[in-house]
């Protein structure tokens, strides 16, 4: 755990904890209405004592919106990445561990899917399914799956060729136990690290989708949606973009730092 005791580790873990805490606690502490309560007399007002982050075009308090928006962004990103791992894991492991024809077919498909930019894929899927919270998760999740499947397959392949796997096979370990005991634990760190980084990408993708109107739906607050709504008021009220933009940036920054540090920490060779 020493890896976390660096500046990078502390900041990264700190940000991730903070964002998680906000996502979990804000909806409990802050009444739901605070994010949508409008004040027509204070539209697009700059940061002040009464609205510390300012207000948006409908006079809604950006502080509350950004706090409550954390839940949406985290929920979507987290579920989407989880979904892509849940789908990508069996595909990747089967492909990497068994190899052969299955591997050829699956990876040809994955490679082809990788030719479609993830955002385009997410956008198209979102257009197919129609925009709402669940569909946004599905769209991002599916769009990320080929990428994760590829990575997991690479890891599984690497691990499957390790002598300890061969040793275990020589010791009479069945395929199922092999995957459970040897493959999974050894690819997990890579998946966790990749998942963390994918989480960052998923937050950006959610923001991008919402920015294009195919993600979170108003009046729910999500960071991407807030940035989208701020477009028309950029030059008069730049804080409407800066506040959610900074929230996205700081979270992604934290996740990336956290991912970098996790990479070191999860290696048993450097763990102690």
């Amino acid at each position: 755990m020493r890896g976390f005791l660096t500046a990078k580790g502390l900041i990264g873990a700190g940000i991730v904890m903070l964002v998680l805490a906000i996502a979990l606690l804000a909806p409990l502490v802050i009444p739901d209405r605070m994010a949508t309560a409008m004040d027509m007399r204070a539209r697009l007002s700059g940061p002040s004592l009464s609205h510390i982050f300012g207000t948006d075009q409908l006079g809604r308090d950006l502080f509350f919106r950004v706090m409550l928006g954390a839940q949406t962004s985290v929920l979507i990103a987290g579920s989407a990445v989880l979904m892509s791992i849940v789908i990508g894991l069996p595909l990747g492991i089967v492909s990497g561990y068994y190899g052969g024809v299955i591997d050829n077919v699956l990876m040809r498909l994955v490679d082809t899917l990788l030719s479609f930019p993830a955002l385009l894929l997410a956008l198209t899927i979102s257009a197919v399914l129609g925009p709402n919270l669940t569909n946004t998760i599905i769209a991002i999740g599916i769009a990320f799956t080929p990428f994760l499947a590829r990575i997991i397959r690479g890891e599984a392949l690497r691990v499957a060729q390790m002598p300890y796997v061969e040793a275990a096979r020589a010791a009479g370990t069945t395929d199922f136990m092999m995957i459970v005991r040897h493959i999974l634990p050894n690819i997990m760190p890579a998946i966790i690290v990749q998942g963390t980084i994918s989480l960052a990408f998923a937050i950006l993708a959610e923001a991008g989708l919402s920015f294009l109107g195919l993600g979170t739906q108003p009046p729910d607050a999500s960071w991407g949606l807030m940035i989208q709504a701020s477009r028309d008021y950029l030059d008069v009220a730049p804080w409407t973009a800066l506040v959610p933009g900074a929230a996205v940036a700081i979270t992604v920054l934290g996740l990336n730092m956290f991912g970098d540090v996790l990479r070191d920490v999860l290696d048993p060779r450097t763990a102690t």
Partner: protein, 313 residues
């Protein structure tokens, strides 16, 4: 040569798969061509008739055959929204997007490689952490956020560059570059950050290799060792990653082009999706995927020029 033929065959196979996926996905889009053609004039009988005449009631395999046949013979159909043949329309927009993709890639590479090498050379020192922090922040900021900042700063604040629009390079090259500059920068900054990290990682690995020690043991200067011996080896992997990022760029242009009102492929695809212009969606999604794949092919082929190990393979 065999390598080239293999690659080309693989490209054809992948293009075929891309076309199938594109066709399949667009066919499950709600709403169909007939509905879009009729618009506010729609009524069930007319829709049924139009569907029949458009062949929408044929089995999917036949529809696919017709579509792919059209693609191969250059008849890409007509956009429902723009009422223009899709082929020339996409050709025009691809040029526009190619300009910003190439520019952003250039910006990214020109900045990322020196920065990444610099960080790798000064590994675990302040230079490294500075470069890494800059890169980390760059990676963390969404491109549309960069775009917004750039518009505020360069167009609105300083008034140096136009905030929007597209000018064809053939019409006015300088103006075209000026229009493309901010979108390219918005795309390029995130990419640069990513490539900086990549270059740093690759160079760190290379600088730890034995041939670098051999070069040093020859008495070569550090500059030669790093920038010639080291970089010559890093270029290949960095270019490969850069090539893979073409896919990411073609995703990002959807957002960035829409923000800058830069009418390229991203804009076109977004318009097509918004309007359920299915023939246009099929065309543009297919083209984007094909371009992304071909960009990767180009990088692979470029790699064979850079790295003699692959040349003979």
């Amino acid at each position: 040569m065999a390598y080239l033929i293999n690659r080309l065959m693989s490209v054809v196979l992948t293009l075929f798969l891309i076309s199938i996926i594109t066709f399949a996905v667009t066919n499950i889009l709600p709403g169909d061509v007939a509905m879009m053609i009729m618009g506010t004039q729609s009524n069930p009988e007319a829709l049924a008739g139009l569907r029949e005449s458009l062949g929408l009631n044929d089995p999917l395999i036949m529809q696919y055959g017709r579509w792919i046949g059209g693609i191969l013979t250059g008849d890409w159909g007509t956009s429902l929204v723009f009422k223009e043949p899709i082929g020339p329309l996409i050709a025009q927009k691809v040029t526009a997007s190619a300009l910003i993709v190439v520019m952003s890639m250039t910006i990214a590479l020109v900045c990322a490689i020196p920065l990444g090498v610099w960080a790798a050379v000064h590994r675990d020192r302040w230079q490294d952490s500075t470069a890494s922090t800059v890169a980390l922040i760059g990676v963390s900021l969404p491109d549309f956020f960069w775009g917004i900042m750039l518009i505020l700063l360069f167009a609105r604040g300083l008034g140096w560059l136009p905030s929007s629009g597209f000018v064809h390079p053939v019409d006015d090259f300088q103006l075209a570059i000026r229009h493309a500059f901010l979108p390219s920068l918005a795309l390029g900054l995130g990419l640069m950050a990513h490539l900086t990290r990549m270059t740093r990682a690759t160079m760190t690995g290379i600088l730890g290799q034995e041939f670098i020690r051999v070069a040093r043991a020859k008495g070569l200067s550090e500059g030669t060792v790093v920038w010639r011996y080291g970089l010559a080896n890093a270029i290949g992997p960095v270019m490969t990653v850069a090539g893979l990022q073409v896919g990411y760029l073609f995703g990002s242009i959807i957002v960035v082009e829409s923000l800058f009102n830069y009418t390229g492929m991203g804009w076109l695809t977004y318009q097509a999706l918004l309007n359920r212009d299915i023939p246009l969606i099929q065309g543009s999604v297919f083209v984007i995927a094909a371009v992304v794949m071909l960009a990767n092919l180009a990088v692979d082929l470029l790699y064979t020029l850079i790295d003699p190990r692959i040349r003979l393979a």
